[in-house]
């Protein structure tokens, strides 16, 4: 954890510089406060308290933006409780929950269901099996990847003028590398310019022509 934390700090220091944020001491304090926290969930208030405990003053807005970054990098998760409060959750801290994993967009959703936990116990004891630990992962397509009609859309199905997000760009290794170099990476936003004949897509200000065979392998939402 310590090496990882040190590397993480370094990483953020660089990002902060790139973002034009001058003082990084404050941010590091926030980072440290979150990573070293004992509980898996922190409210913003709790986080600010822990930062102040390090002798650093910070504003809620700053803390919020740092946490937003951490969420972006997949280290934290924002959980909105029913009463509208925001909790920051550590991802992969050791508290039991099960996973729903979308095989297309790789989204991971956690769930915990007491009935299921009990059933697992029952199954094990009936077989005279003593469970130490368990894991349950359900693979499939999430609601974003499988829209109402249940149809998977590829670039071929996108009308000219429509703007979409790349979910995955398939093909061989070399080929997906080439697409990635051009900027067709998962989650990038593209617009279809032409859809009769070869497909032309816009990535920012550049235009890329794709054969129809290629377009069929690019899944979008």
């Amino acid at each position: 954890m310590n090496r990882a934390l040190a590397a993480l700090e370094e990483h953020f220091a660089m990002t902060f510089v790139a973002e034009g944020i001058a003082d990084t001491r404050e941010h590091r304090a926030i980072l440290r406060a979150f990573c070293n926290a004992d509980s898996p969930h922190l409210t913003l208030e709790e986080l600010l308290d822990r930062v102040r405990a390090q002798g650093v003053e910070t504003k809620p807005d700053t803390a919020r933006s740092v946490m937003a970054r951490l969420c972006e990098y997949g280290l934290a998760r924002e959980v909105r409780t029913d009463d509208g409060q925001i909790l920051y959750e550590h991802l992969h801290l050791d508290q039991h929950h099960d996973h729903l994993i979308c095989t297309r967009c790789k989204r991971v959703m956690n769930f915990h269901d007491e009935r299921l936990e009990e059933l697992k116990e029952v199954v094990a004891t009936n077989r005279h099996f003593h469970p130490l630990r368990h894991r349950l992962e359900i693979y499939g397509l999430c609601d974003r990847c499988l829209p109402a009609g249940g149809i998977v859309r590829t670039l071929l199905d996108v009308a000219a003028g429509e703007r979409v997000r790349v979910v995955s760009a398939g093909g061989g290794r070399r080929f997906s590398q080439r697409l990635a170099d051009l900027g067709l990476v998962p989650n990038s936003e593209i617009q279809v310019i032409n859809n009769t004949g070869p497909i032309i897509v816009a990535l920012g200000n550049s235009r890329v022509a794709l054969g129809r065979g290629v377009a069929a392998k690019i899944v979008v939402r």
């Binding site: 090496r3 590397a7 080439r178 697409l179 051009l182 032409n194 920012g204 890329v208 054969g211």
Partner: protein, 713 residues
């Protein structure tokens, strides 16, 4: 040995002290000038900038051998020699496509002293994506923010100062097309040469990736020096990304039990499991993200993002129903242009050559020397130079297509058709270039990523009728046909048709297997500049002239000798054309004559001309000029046409059969040399020669015999 001449002892820590450069490949310890590599994505204006800078050149050189596609110029800046190198465009250092490897290899192996990164200001993210990779490598970088005018027109306001600070790289806005900003760029170059600073840069990575890199670096340290040429964490990252070229260079996994290779694989697998993506894609996304973050920081106004003018044009020109027909019309117009407009200047050159030989005739005393100069040299070379206007016009038209951005659309439009016949959309551009000259076209086939696609393209490409064949057609068409353009177009179409058939056959028999998918970036439509079009066309015209001055001159003299000696025995009173029978050419030609008779070309002169045409197809004309002028030296060289008309051998049908044969038979020697180099094997050259000759004969036979049956003979 250290190849860097002067700056290595400067006080500020120079870049080469960071890494061990001890094992350079180059064995010759010549001090080399400060080398500046122009690197950037395709179409960001590198070549335009290069031409601007090398305007101050005292020498522009082509690299020999495998590196012809790099151009370099030595310029003197601030009292110092600099070598500026123009390289093919790349999107990423992780490339595996043939053409882009040239750039990568040059930069990694030769280590230029400075990378002049050319950025497309209208597409900053992509340029930065590449620039970051130079910084990761620890190269000194200076950046030209080119196409500044187009960015302004788009309403992009880029804070150059800020970008400069964020990257630690000096950035100069330029408009290569007009030369704006060039002064500042040259000053910055001068400054950078005096004091090459390496910006400290480290791509921020997620901790798990950092951990994997940290695991590999000690292993790399333990290995022999080969990896020390590069920053080790860069090497580690690249190996995790699965960079096979680098792995090959460092001989990773060379031995059966390589700890490093195993660790790399294990690390890559861990990352793949963690992120659900191959490390290469993960890091590519990370670099894009970083570049995008930078862009957000410095681009003040995001422009309106509706369809641009280019997009609106494309919706028409690339659409299914309009795209292809329009494309075919454009291609036809190219030939019409080259043929029709070229007529007048051709007549002037003809007249000039005629006047010259007439003058020489009256100045020189009759005899062998006069015959050599007038029939051999002037007749041969003059017969070829006459076609310079056609060549020049064809290249001008091609340059316009290329510079306007339409050529890339052509590739996209043709992909569907091309894929039906076993070719690839990208085969199209080499084939188009093939209409100019097969030699660069074979080289251009490198843009095809898949080896099978590349080989098929290279093998069928010589059926695209190159500019060197044009003189033959023009000669015979103007002698035997009243309407030129349709006949010419039919010959070109026949070439295309034969290429298609051959591709189908090759795909079925020799190269089975799938095709690589089509992806090509489309540059925005631009008005071609007069300057670049003329430069482009002139480059090729100059090559043609040089060929006329060397190979063709030499061959004309050889053909003259062969068709002059040995002379008929003194005792016989054979005179005039009949005397040719005794010469070497006459003997060779007579040997081939029976073979050529079924295709309507049963004359020893044709045999000689065709054999000589193997060196370069224009020589066919030069040879006819020499062969027909022998014994009638009083004729002006421009009268070759009349000489042909008088020869009963020639009818429109036999002339057409000859054109077909010239179109299809053995591609010229330089093209074969290039094919040998690019295909890496003599086998393909042998196949090509055998195949094309057989094909040429068969098709000419069908044309001639079929034509006779139809009563056209």
């Amino acid at each position: 040995m250290n190849l860097r001449p002067t700056q290595s002892d400067s006080a500020s820590s120079p870049p080469e002290s960071r890494y061990n450069l001890g094992e350079s490949d180059c064995p010759i310890p010549v001090p080399r000038p400060f080398t500046v590599a122009l690197a950037g994505t395709p179409n960001c204006g590198k070549t335009t900038l290069f031409n601007r800078i090398s305007h101050l050149r005292h020498k522009v050189a082509n690299y020999p051998g495998a590196t012809v596609e790099k151009r370099s110029a030595i310029v003197r800046l601030g009292g110092r020699e600099m070598e500026i190198v123009d390289l093919p465009g790349i999107y990423s250092l992780g490339t595996e496509s043939q053409d882009e490897l040239v750039t990568r290899e040059f930069c990694l192996r030769q280590r230029p002293d400075l990378i002049l990164a050319v950025l497309d200001a209208t597409n900053l993210e992509r340029g930065l994506y590449l620039l970051l990779q130079w910084l990761e490598l620890g190269f000194p970088v200076l950046a030209a923010l080119n196409l500044w005018d187009e960015a302004q027109a788009l309403g992009l306001r880029i804070r150059v100062e800020r970008l400069s600070q964020l990257l630690g790289v000096h950035i100069i806005p330029t408009v290569a097309r007009t030369g704006e900003g060039l002064g500042a760029l040259l000053k910055a170059l001068e400054e950078a040469a005096r004091n090459p600073a390496v910006p400290a840069f480290h791509l921020p990575l997620e901790p798990p990736v950092e951990d994997e890199v940290a695991r590999l670096v000690p292993l790399l340290e333990q290995r022999d020096g080969s990896a020390n040429r590069y920053p080790l964490d860069w090497v580690a990252l690249k190996l995790l990304e699965g960079d096979s070229a680098l792995a090959g260079e460092l001989r990773v996994g060379g031995e059966a039990d390589d700890l490093l290779a195993r660790e790399i694989e294990a690390g890559a697998n861990r990352l793949r499991a963690l992120y659900g993506q191959p490390p290469a894609i993960l890091l590519s996304a990370r670099r894009h993200e970083y570049a995008r973050d930078l862009v957000r920081q410095v681009v003040a106004v995001v422009p309106r993002r509706g369809p641009t003018r280019s997009d609106r044009i494309d919706r028409l020109l690339v659409s299914t129903w309009f795209g292809l027909p329009f494309f075919l019309v454009v291609t036809y117009l190219v030939f019409e242009f080259a043929f029709t407009v070229g007529r007048a200047p051709m007549a002037w050159i003809e007249a000039g050559v005629g006047a010259l030989s007439a003058a020489l005739m009256s100045m020189l005393p009759p005899g062998v020397l006069r015959s050599l100069i007038v029939d051999g040299v002037v007749g041969g070379v003059g017969g070829v130079i006459v076609f310079l206007p056609n060549i020049l016009l064809l290249f001008i038209a091609m340059a316009i297509l290329e510079d306007s951005g339409y050529m890339a659309r052509g590739a996209a439009i043709m992909d569907r058709l091309m894929s039906r016949v076993g070719l690839h959309g990208k085969s199209f551009i080499p084939m188009m270039i093939g209409f100019g000259c097969n030699v660069p076209a074979i080289m251009a086939a490198r843009t095809l990523e898949n080896r099978r696609d590349r080989l098929i393209t290279m093998l069928v490409l010589p059926m695209m009728s190159c500019g060197a064949r044009l003189p033959v057609y023009v000669l015979f068409i103007s002698a035997f046909f009243t309407r030129g353009a349709p006949v010419l177009f039919s010959i070109y179409l026949l070439g295309i048709f034969m290429a298609v058939i051959s591709a189908l056959v090759l795909r079925r028999i020799v190269f089975r297997g799938g095709r690589t998918p089509f992806v090509l970036e489309l540059p925005p439509y631009r008005l071609p500049t007069l300057r670049s079009v003329l430069l482009h066309a002139w480059d090729h015209a100059w090559m043609y002239l040089k060929k006329a001055g060397t190979v063709i001159l030499l061959l004309s003299v050889v053909v003259w000798f062969l068709s002059t000696y040995p002379r008929p025995p003194k005792t016989s009173d054979v005179r005039g054309p009949a005397a040719l029978r005794y010469t070497v050419a006459g003997t060779v030609g007579s040997l081939i004559e029976p073979v050529l008779r079924p295709i309507g070309l049963g004359d020893w002169k044709v045999g000689v001309a065709l054999v000589s045409g193997f060196a370069a197809k224009e020589v066919v004309v030069a040879s006819f000029a020499t062969l027909y002028n022998v014994g009638e030296a009083a004729e002006r060289s421009s009268a070759l046409r009349d000489a042909l008309r008088r020869d009963p051998l020639w009818t429109p049908l036999s002339a057409y059969a000859l054109m077909v044969f010239v179109l299809l038979y053995i591609p010229c020697l330089p093209a074969m040399v290039m094919l040998r180099r690019e295909s890496g094997s003599r086998k393909w050259v042998a196949l090509e020669i055998a195949y094309t000759t057989t094909l040429a004969y068969t098709v000419a036979l069908i044309v001639y015999q079929g034509g006779k049956l139809l009563g056209w003979g």
